[in-house]
């Protein structure tokens, strides 16, 4: 059997070991692709915002379409109150999207296929949203756990379920992205391995599958970034406009 399909997710050190005290913060391939993604985003959007022509050039149009796409997504799900958080959600969407997309290039590393990365993002969002909720509504934010129009008998049960669902938000958010990316890349690797092992005679079927999977994975890469951003918007909406 060729390479283990999981080896593509291995993180290894690039350059010397960097340590602060006893904590290892060495530069790794994951760090490299985080920087590459960020730089690509900054490059594209810097080029797209440099010239301020009334009739946009292609790259300017790309930047402006992305801007209005995210702006529309936020205003549709979280309303106009979410405007101060636009830059954060825009960066988040672009970061996840570019990390996913860079992962689609062969021999690259997919930053978002690591639970620790997605969990950090999700935890940051969760904590931030909770802080915003308490700052905006004080202890009234706890009303989020008490849906209106529920019979008194069921209320304790419902409140417990609501609290559990609220607390599981960062986990579901991070695991969704991480599992999608990991599963997709593993599957592509497995099918790629089949192509090798079946050779020129039977390798065509897994190869065609691999091609189809590549298309699907590009779709998933976009979709997961979109889902990640839109769920952030929904959580933000809960914090900004209490509905219950």
């Amino acid at each position: 059997m060729a390479a283990n399909p999981m080896t593509q997710f291995e993180v290894y050190r690039i350059g010397p070991e960097i340590k602060i005290g006893s904590i290892d913060i060495s530069f790794t391939n994951a760090s490299l692709f985080m920087i590459v993604s960020s730089l690509a985003i900054l490059l594209i959007f810097n080029l797209g915002s440099k010239k301020k022509s009334i009739i946009p050039s292609k790259i300017q149009l790309l930047a402006e379409l992305s801007y209005s796409f995210v702006a529309k997504m936020i205003s549709d799900t979280a309303g106009s109150k979410a405007k101060p958080y636009f830059a954060f959600i825009f960066s988040l969407f672009m970061f996840v999207l570019f990390c996913n997309m860079f992962g689609m290039i062969p021999y690259t590393f997919t930053v978002t296929s690591h639970i620790i990365v997605t969990f950090m993002l999700a935890a940051f969002i969760f904590i931030g949203v909770t802080i915003i909720g308490f700052l905006k509504h004080g202890f009234g934010y706890l009303k989020l756990f008490v849906p209106s129009g529920v019979p008194m008998v069921l209320l304790p049960l419902i409140v417990i379920i609501e609290i559990i669902s609220y607390l599981s938000r960062p986990i579901s958010l991070s695991v969704r992205l991480f599992a999608n990316m990991m599963a997709g890349h593993t599957m592509m690797k497995v099918f790629g391995g089949f192509v090798i092992s079946l050779g020129i005679v039977g390798g065509w079927l897994p190869l065609s599958f691999s091609v189809a999977l590549t298309g699907l994975e590009i779709l998933v890469a976009f979709l997961q970034a979109y889902v990640f951003a839109i769920l952030t918007c929904i959580y933000l909406n809960d914090a900004l406009n209490l509905h219950h």
Binding site: F27, M34, I41, E64, S91, M94, F95, V111, M120, L121
Partner: protein, 196 residues
């Protein structure tokens, strides 16, 4: 600082998780905590830099440009609306002018026509009068000529009859007696020869 402590607490939670998964060999490199801190560190730096750069430098430019385009389009639409209104007003003015000038032309035409008709009528009257006068004159002349002709005929009749009688009879006859006879005859036959 708070963030760091938080990261560490989460890290230790996952460290515990790793102990659970460790039993099933090292299948998932994601659950190997060796580089977790490093990833968190670099994620914080790159995402932080990305967020700050986008929010401070790039996104305001894009948004201002979008805003500018929107306002420009709005302005252009307004200007076009204004020009349309003014052109409509001008069209109305133009139509009014045309209507007015049409009326004027009609009036002028009417006036001229009346004048011409009057002129024609007056000239016609004058001409009619002249014609009538001339006819009258001619009739008078004819009347006088008629009268003169009768007398002349009488004279000729007398002279010729005296001549004829001289040749027939050979002697001269008194003119007065002949003229009496001729007069008598002309009176009798006047109606026959000249009408009335």
């Amino acid at each position: 600082m708070i963030k760091k402590i938080l990261f560490q607490s989460i890290f230790f939670n996952f460290f515990f998780l790793k102990e659970v998964f460790a039993a099933e060999n090292g299948g998932m490199p994601q659950l190997d905590p060796e580089f977790w801190i490093s990833q968190i560190f670099w994620l914080t730096i790159t995402f932080g830099v990305l967020y700050v750069t986008l929010s401070k430098f790039i996104l305001p430019k894009i948004s201002s440009n979008l805003e500018r385009r929107k306002s420009q389009i709005q302005e252009n639409i307004e200007a076009a609306e204004k020009q349309r209104e003014s052109s409509e007003a001008k069209l109305k003015e133009y139509e009014e002018i045309i209507l007015k000038s049409k009326l004027e032309a009609k009036n002028i035409f009417k006036n001229v026509r009346e004048k011409v008709i009057k002129d024609i009528n007056s000239k016609k009257e004058i001409l009619d009068k002249q014609i009538d006068d001339e006819i009258n004159d001619a009739e008078k002349e004819i009347e006088t000529l008629k009268n003169i002709a009768a007398e002349k005929i009488n004279k000729i009749a007398i002279e010729t009859s005296s001549d004829i009688l001289k040749k027939l009879i050979g002697t001269e006859i008194n003119n007065s007696s002949i003229s009496a006879i001729v007069d008598d005859l002309t009176k009798k036959n006047k109606d026959k020869y000249y009408g009335s």
